[in-house]
């Protein structure tokens, strides 16, 4: 509970400097037809909420996974990792078929203080299938610019989310409004069953909220909260949360 004594500073200058080029989001389509328990694409589906793979993959709530295998944990410069994940990498953790499988069994136990909102995959057969599939699926070179831009790539306005992204949000108002969010989404960035929203890129934050409006996302609590936010308020919240670093 009282882990807000854990303070970390970190250099985030890179993030602001990288220009946004792409917005094209590559999503893997779910497998058609009945899927076996070990069907790796089906197993990957829950991961896709936060992680992209494939050509042009971007960071979302979690980092893109291209080129994952053989990489030091927590080592992409342009993604804001938790202190726990960075420390694990510094201590020598490198992602391999074995380490990833161990991690996915119980992520929160394997790396204390990491922010991945996933309880774990208990069945070793499932982990084996997923990790082996990922080893091939993540093989392509990472995107040139994995940071999600503030607006869509061609600069045009395509929908409500883009309209909100044109608004300069007031972070002070956002901080007040955030009082409602942090009752569940911890201000420290820790996740104990409810995902962290600290440090989310503006674009991702805004689009996610609009997905509650359009019923792409279905959580009743969130749908209700979003229904009561106007565009200025969403912009203010995006400005506030994107300005925070996870502890």
């Amino acid at each position: 509970m009282a882990d807000h004594g854990r303070h970390q500073t970190r250099n985030t200058t890179l993030r602001g400097l990288v220009p946004a080029i792409f917005f094209g989001v590559t999503m893997l389509s779910g497998t058609a037809g009945a899927a076996r328990a070990e069907d790796p694409e089906k197993l990957f589906k829950p991961c896709m909420t936060c992680h992209e793979i494939g050509a042009g993959a971007k960071h979302k709530v979690g980092p893109h996974l291209d080129g994952l295998f053989g990489r030091k944990a927590g080592s992409l410069d342009d993604f804001r990792y938790s202190a726990g994940m960075r420390a694990a990498g510094e201590a020598g953790l490198v992602w391999t078929v074995e380490t990833l499988s161990d991690y996915l069994e119980r992520p929160r136990d394997f790396i204390k203080g990491n922010r991945m909102s996933f309880r774990g995959m208990a069945d070793p057969k499932d982990r084996h299938a997923l990790v082996n599939w990922l080893e091939t699926a993540t093989r392509q070179a990472p995107a040139a610019d994995p940071v999600i831009g503030e607006t869509s790539g061609d600069g045009g306005v395509h929908g409500f989310a883009d309209i909100v992204l044109q608004i300069e949000g007031d972070p002070e108002y956002g901080e007040y409004l955030a009082g409602e969010c942090v009752t569940c989404h911890q201000a420290s960035g820790h996740a104990d069953g409810i995902p962290s929203i600290v440090g989310l890129p503006k674009d991702y934050f805004v689009r996610s909220l609009f997905e509650y409006r359009s019923n792409v996302r279905s959580n009743e609590v969130m749908k209700l909260r979003v229904a009561n936010l106007n565009n200025e308020e969403i912009a203010a919240l995006a400005a506030y949360f994107s300005s925070l670093d996870p502890q």
Partner: protein
């Protein structure tokens, strides 16, 4: 570096550190002073937000008579054996060490609103510029004939978490197959509307998991209906067939009184017999609210819906179960939400911070059986002279197991979130 970190850094190195070394009466003069009575979901949140967002510019004192705080929310999960007592008990250490809040452990006996002083039971007094009153509820013992505070060690109410909750659990764990549990539910308005029915569920969970399926939980209710009734009763039918019986006034005809020694509850319909009596009486605002002259005839405190400011005193704010919050239920979530509106208004009063329009929210999760959690929630805003509901949702009958399980995981995340938001 996060904003919070900068603030805490300031707290340790700036004016506060120097001020802390001064005697109280000197320290109190150089900054505006806020006193918060009650260290629960309302009071702890208000104290933390006022301290955190004023960059050390406001002197905050938090009064609660307990050293550690046990939350009422999730205490039913302890009763059901699904949480430890330690996991629902929290310390005020971080509020003191990282936010510079002064925690006074003692009982506030009265308030001299003329002199702006809180008078403590031990004879000391604490001055304030703004007072936040968040004492929760007190029980109206004689609302159930034959019940009293003394008898609550035999027939626990467990409607304030702590020793009472432990007594209830010990008595529940001693039930033998075939013995009955009687719960007398409270009349409106009361703390945690779905609470009695979640508790009945958790009691049945314990009985069922020990194979005591000839035992029963009988709820004698003064109300004709209750929160999330349809979904609760569907869940009881599914998980605990024949083990939970609910009687409203049109069946029992009226609860006439209890006999704790004999283990009986007398109603117009019949005399019920139980090995465990869980008596939850009618409720009013915590005693200090009435003695400070902040309550009306209802026993609760009227407030201005845009700020949580008392309608009888501009220097006083009342939040949580003790206030009349319009359409909002009395819940930890509501108290936490109201605390943030009050904290903003207090900062606006004392250091000229920007005051934004009030917004309120509530969600209540209730656990029926392992991985089967239901929820109800709403948004609120000032309107028609009260805090009015603008939109809401409630769990439906016949929902998928996966959704109910997701609800439970969400509630666990919420518990971690709100307690971090209260205690730092």
């Amino acid at each position: 570096m996060t904003r919070l970190t900068r603030r805490q850094f300031g707290l340790f190195t700036g004016a506060s550190a120097a001020a802390l070394s001064l005697p109280t009466y000197l320290r109190a003069q150089d900054k505006p002073r806020v006193v918060v009575i009650g260290g629960g979901a309302g009071g702890a949140t208000a104290a933390r937000y006022i301290a955190k967002d004023s960059d050390g510019g406001i002197d905050v004192t938090l009064i609660d008579d307990a050293e550690m705080f046990t939350t009422c929310f999730f205490s039913n999960l302890y009763v059901g054996g699904l949480r430890s007592f330690e996991s629902i008990t929290h310390s005020y250490d971080t509020l003191q060490s990282s936010y510079g809040i002064t925690k006074v452990t003692g009982r506030a006996a009265s308030v001299d609103r003329e002199k702006k002083m809180v008078m403590m039971a031990d004879g000391s007094s604490i001055p304030y510029d703004r007072l936040v009153v968040s004492p929760g509820i007190d029980l109206i013992w004689d609302s159930v004939g034959g019940y009293s505070e003394e008898l609550s060690t035999i027939a626990p109410h467990a409607w304030k978490a702590g020793e009472q909750t432990k007594i209830l659990k010990a008595k529940l764990d001693a039930i033998e197959n075939g013995q009955q549990i009687l719960m007398v539910a409270p009349p409106n308005p009361y703390r945690c509307p779905p609470g009695p029915y979640e508790r009945a569920s958790m009691m049945a969970h314990v009985l069922k998991s020990k194979g005591l399926t000839d035992s029963k939980v009988i709820i004698l209710d003064p109300k004709p209906k209750f929160s999330k009734q349809g979904v609760f009763q569907e869940g009881w039918e599914k998980h605990y067939p024949g083990m939970i019986e609910w009687y409203g006034p049109d069946v029992h005809g009226g609860i006439d009184g209890i006999n704790v020694e004999a283990g009986t509850v007398e109603t117009d319909l019949d005399t019920f017999q139980g090995a465990l009596l869980n008596i939850i009486p009618a409720q009013k605002a915590g005693t200090i609210a009435a003695s400070a002259g902040l309550t009306d005839d209802s026993g609760f405190c009227p407030i201005q819906p845009d700020s949580m400011r008392s309608t009888v005193d501009d220097a006083v704010f009342v939040i949580g179960d003790a206030c009349i919050a319009g359409d909002m239920p009395k819940s930890g979530f509501s108290a936490n939400s109201q605390a943030k509106v009050a904290a903003m208004a207090v900062r606006g009063d004392l250091i000229g911070s920007k005051v934004f329009p009030a917004k309120f929210a509530n969600t209540c999760w209730s656990l029926i059986e392992t991985d089967d959690s239901i929820k109800v929630g709403a948004q609120y805003a000032p309107g028609d002279g009260k805090i009015a509901s603008t939109q809401g949702f409630i769990s439906q009958m016949d929902e998928e197991n996966a959704l109910r399980k997701a609800n439970f995981e969400e509630s666990v995340g919420w518990y971690a979130g709100i307690t971090a938001d209260m205690f730092g």
